[in-house]
């Protein structure tokens, strides 16, 4: 804990310069993922990994969260966990909506394939 009596954050310049460089490198990597046209699982994993690394360095070092006391860290970083629940629920809901749309709005052949086995004979 590099905390001073005045309660403010003072760290060597080298840390900031190093993180700054690292953010540039990570952003370049993110861009190259698109430039080289990676697709599928590789693309999603690389994008998410670079995104989370950048977010971690910005919050931890630039915003000094790594040196704050645990009371502040928990107060700020635990509430967003609720958001993961929202994201999870909306993802399930999105998939459900897609299936519903596929069932009711698509061209007839696909509809008959989906309701296969539940055919009502008149």
């Amino acid at each position: 804990m590099a905390e001073h009596a005045e309660g403010h954050q003072q760290h060597p310049l080298a840390i900031y310069l190093y993180i700054w460089l690292l953010l540039f490198v990570l952003s370049t990597f993110s861009y190259l993922v698109d430039y080289f046209g990676f697709q599928g699982l590789v693309r999603w994993s690389l994008i998410i990994i670079f995104m989370l690394m950048k977010a971690g360095f910005i919050v931890g070092i630039f915003m000094h969260m790594a040196w704050e006391r645990l009371a502040l860290i928990t107060a700020i970083l635990t509430p967003p966990i609720c958001l993961l629940v929202l994201i999870g629920l909306m993802n399930i809901e999105g998939e459900y909506t897609t299936k519903t749309r596929g069932q009711y709005f698509d061209e007839p052949p696909q509809v008959s394939r989906i309701v296969e086995g539940h055919e009502i004979s008149h």
């Binding site: 005045e6 309660g7 403010h8 954050q9 003072q10 760290h11 310049l13 900031y16 310069l17 993180i19 700054w20 953010l23 540039f24 952003s27 993110s30 861009y31 993922v33 698109d34 430039y35 046209g37 693309r43 999603w44 994008i47 998410i48 670079f50 995104m51 950048k54 977010a55 910005i58 919050v59 070092i61 630039f62 915003m63 000094h64 704050e68 006391r69 009371a71 502040l72 107060a75 700020i76 509430p79 967003p80 958001l83 929202l86 994201i87 909306m90 993802n91 809901e93 999105g94 998939e95 909506t97 897609t98 749309r101 596929g102 709005f105 698509d106």
Partner: protein, 225 residues
């Protein structure tokens, strides 16, 4: 026991509310302005996540193909067709501004007023550049590509609504940040914080880094996804 006695001695009503919230019970060992800025940023996190979640929902639920951002945001520079180049440049500009801001906070605590002010003004200038490029991007999309909040010629109709809402709200934050940083830079130059201390530069820095942080998520989830 002493708890009950204390409660009886405390004032009731509105005065009691103030007493309870201010009664020598400091939870966060940081300047109050910094704690308040963090709480504001937490609420802003919820707003931006709601936007991004809404975007995720419409994107997963639409049966029409989503316009390819890599192509939509491509530019032709000197005869070369480069995908997503404008957004990449905007990303680098915003990261540059984050670096100058971090250095400004450092020099503020060293009480180097000139360097702090210059670094903050550089940060604000990078921010203004970012907003300028965003205005260019919006103009290109609206005028040349015909993107509207209710539809576009390239695919799913929801693309425009998501794009204008998310980048517009972020751009508004950058614009407000430019004004905020310029104001604080002026006050640093004038020497307003010589007696009060330079925590305010760090608090302004928190806001600016947050704006960059949001862009990291928008860049990954909207432009690269």
């Amino acid at each position: 026991m002493s708890h009950e006695m204390n409660a009886a001695a405390l004032p009731a009503g509105v005065t009691g509310v103030v007493t309870d919230w201010s009664g020598d019970k400091q939870a966060f060992q940081v300047p109050w302005g910094k704690a308040m800025m963090w709480i504001f940023l937490l609420s802003d996190t919820f707003i931006f996540t709601s936007f991004l979640t809404g975007y995720m929902h419409v994107r997963t639920s639409t049966t029409v193909p989503w316009p390819n951002p890599s192509e939509v945001f491509a530019l032709t520079i000197a005869g070369h067709h480069i995908p997503l180049i404008l957004i990449a440049i905007m990303t680098f500009i915003l990261i540059s501004s984050s670096g100058t801001m971090a250095l400004a906070v450092n020099y503020g605590y060293r009480r180097d007023r000139t360097k702090t002010m210059l670094l903050m003004l550089a940060t604000a200038a990078f921010g203004a550049m970012f907003v300028g490029m965003q205005a260019f991007e919006w103009t290109k999309l609206i005028v040349e590509e015909g993107v509207r909040p209710w539809g576009n010629p390239m695919g799913a109709a929801q693309f425009g609504a998501c794009f204008f809402m998310i980048t517009g709200f972020h751009g508004m934050h950058v614009s407000v940040g430019v004004i905020y940083l310029s104001t604080v830079a002026f006050k640093v130059y004038r020497g307003d914080y010589e007696s009060r201390g330079y925590e305010i530069v760090e608090i302004a820095g928190l806001y600016w880094h947050f704006v960059d942080l949001v862009w990291v998520f928008i860049f990954a989830l909207f432009y690269l996804w």
